[in-house]
Symmetry: C2
Subunit: 392 residues, 2 copies
């Protein structure tokens, strides 16, 4: 069966070495990786199978990671990873959604096989796919081991992208541009919101003629009219009216690397006040972007953005950026650095963020945003659609 | 701001009463509900906001549930739930992805406000959105409370659908039929796999002229050629060849109620052996369906299905069905009854399942399946596409 890897073996080796170095530093002998993007980063594993237990294991004294999946998903491991057969393990199907059996007992048995009964074991305590039950079952099955919280250990390493990863981020950006274009073309009075969303999804998955797309790690947001004030709404069946706001967030996703981007469409002529608000939002976004360069902190970027708002008597206390990279549901956000007031993370070339400067202010809202990579000199926009309010 | 509820208030009240009755039975004073479908079931809450902490609280001595979201998502609670303003709470944005602050401290403060410092508190230990960290933070913040595992308490109540819910399941089924039709029409040699997937997504979201669709809770599976042996693969950029298998799983999703359904397309003339395999798969599926009626166990249905396989010298040890209903990523499956060998759950009218009788046998695979509702007399198919192998 043919294996499809998206990176050179040397790149996977470098990632693994970085993780092992951090494990050594923290005194961890074994790392249990439950987060799908982290599993993908270290092994290449890619399948929509993480809704049943799935674990990658890195042991300091074992060269290759081990991936444990549901038995039927071992085929996906053979197709998408560089791992040898001995590093691909599957648990029987009667462990799935079972009251009597826990797949984490199976995970524990592999840890024991690695000699890890008494090891110091890192686990991703705050991960999306490491439930309270998973942890309780593991602790019970490995009573002599010491568990340490290693949440975000891999995520922080992922924060700085390699040049090969940046290439996928740029391809994702091209898809993102195609999706924005498609949404703008499709939005007309009378079109049902669901049909507009359908067009966005079609373009996200189809991608461009050169670069096919794949599923995004969250959902298209299409916040129309009154619902434009709810940042995480989706869509209804209703036809668009002659005069309304459409705040939308779409994605470009390439080989699981994802770019998020938002725009606002105003159907019908906007009020002068609204145009003024959009102008401020764009000026603030641009000020934030212009402040990006290695050595600046996330907080510095927030300050540059917010100075424009303050000068105009406005305020935003939410974060204005989150890191982008490998995404699986429920979100692409890496849960590490946020661009916000109090965040002291120092920017480095290769980090990628979505500068999500949406403003939801009482009865008005506007969402014009920019995904970007930090470069040696400043920033590189990952999408190229002009940062403007779209009036149709 | 207009509130959009998809069910009568009396239906929400009946659901809440059923949950409170079960809480009383188990001696739980407070139930913390972290699973998005359970939150939706009890309050109507619907937004793609569950990737940050989100909790519904049911207290035995309080009439309404409380929903806690990120501050910016309170707007979605006002739009999508029947809750009064006092029952909608939001935590500040600096709790999001923070190292210093835990949103579960905020949740604990609401529990304290309800007088729950020393309460017996049910939590969904195995839920997708209840991490090891969430539990640890809550236990620490409420040291005098007693925590009990109440995982699936709400899920088991959701298993039997009301007539209003069944109506949405039927609408979802109509969308599912439209998606199958679209995929079959679009699949041609030379079409890129991503363009075929894009067509499926377009139809899922667009729905039908009467019933708009919404995002599914997992992903379209499009397993082509060799990858047809990997059940949870998605798609590539490659064009379809003249002669290949396409195993696909698509969805109809209506107001978050979801139907899953699979078919196999054979591009080019299939071998006689393959046609024989498909015939067996269909016969086994039909035998399983014909055995469905209230009073039968899940195990009985599995046996009826498997008798056909056994007679033909085949075997399947995976489960062949999971419950369908309200879905949010990562899956619609309710994690309660599975149709499999050892499962003694007794069928009742109103339960809905996806009979997922895909066969992955060495070098061959076929996926022809049927979502259905249990009725008083037997079963009602939720999609109406004929159960056949599609040859193009």
């Amino acid at each position: 069966m043919e294996t499809i890897l998206h990176f050179e073996r040397a790149e996977y080796a470098a990632r693994l070495a970085a993780v092992k170095a951090e494990m050594s530093k923290r005194g961890l002998e074994i790392l249990l990786i439950s987060e799908p993007p982290n599993q993908n980063y270290l092994t290449g594993y890619d399948a929509y199978s993480f809704y049943t237990p799935q674990m990658a294991i890195v042991a300091l004294d074992r060269e290759e990671p081990i991936i444990i999946t549901r038995g039927m998903d071992m085929t996906s491991a053979r197709i998408t990873t560089y791992l040898s057969e001995d590093s691909i393990r599957g648990f029987p199907d009667n462990y799935v959604n079972s009251i009597e059996r826990s797949a984490y007992d199976y995970v524990a048995s592999v840890v024991q096989e690695l000699g890890g009964e008494k090891a110091v074991i890192g686990v991703e305590m705050g991960g999306y796919y490491y439930s309270a039950r998973a942890h309780a079952d593991l602790v019970k099955a490995l009573p002599q081991a010491r568990f340490e919280d290693a949440d975000l250990l891999v995520n922080w390493i992922r924060l700085v992208k390699s040049s090969a990863e940046l290439e996928f981020m740029r391809q994702a950006g091209l898809i993102g541009d195609a999706v924005i274009k498609r949404v703008i073309e499709t939005a007309e009075p009378g079109v049902r919101e669901c049909d507009l969303a359908a067009a966005a999804y079609h373009q996200e998955i189809s991608g461009t003629p050169e670069f096919g797309g794949t599923y995004n790690s969250s959902v298209v947001h299409l916040c129309v009219g009154e619902r434009a004030l709810a940042p995480h709404s989706t869509w209804t069946d209703r036809p668009l009216s002659d005069r309304t706001i459409i705040n939308f967030e779409v994605h470009g996703t390439r080989r699981r690397y994802q770019v998020n981007v938002s725009r606002t469409i105003h159907l019908g002529k906007p009020s002068a006040d609204y145009v003024k608000l959009a102008d401020i939002a764009i000026e603030a976004l641009n000020a934030g972007l212009e402040s990006v360069r290695p050595g600046q902190t996330c907080s510095d970027v927030f300050a540059a953005f917010h100075a424009v708002l303050s000068r105009n008597g406005l305020e935003k206390d939410q974060r204005i950026g989150y890191p982008l990279g490998i995404g699986y549901p429920p979100t692409v956000a890496e849960r590490t650095a946020s661009i916000r007031k109090e965040e002291k993370t120092v920017l480095q070339a290769g980090m990628c963020f979505h500068m999500m400067t949406g403003l939801w202010l009482g009865v008005q809202s506007v969402t014009i945003t920019q995904p970007f990579a930090v470069t040696e000199e400043g920033y590189e926009p990952l999408t190229h659609t002009p940062r403007t309010l779209v009036v149709k």
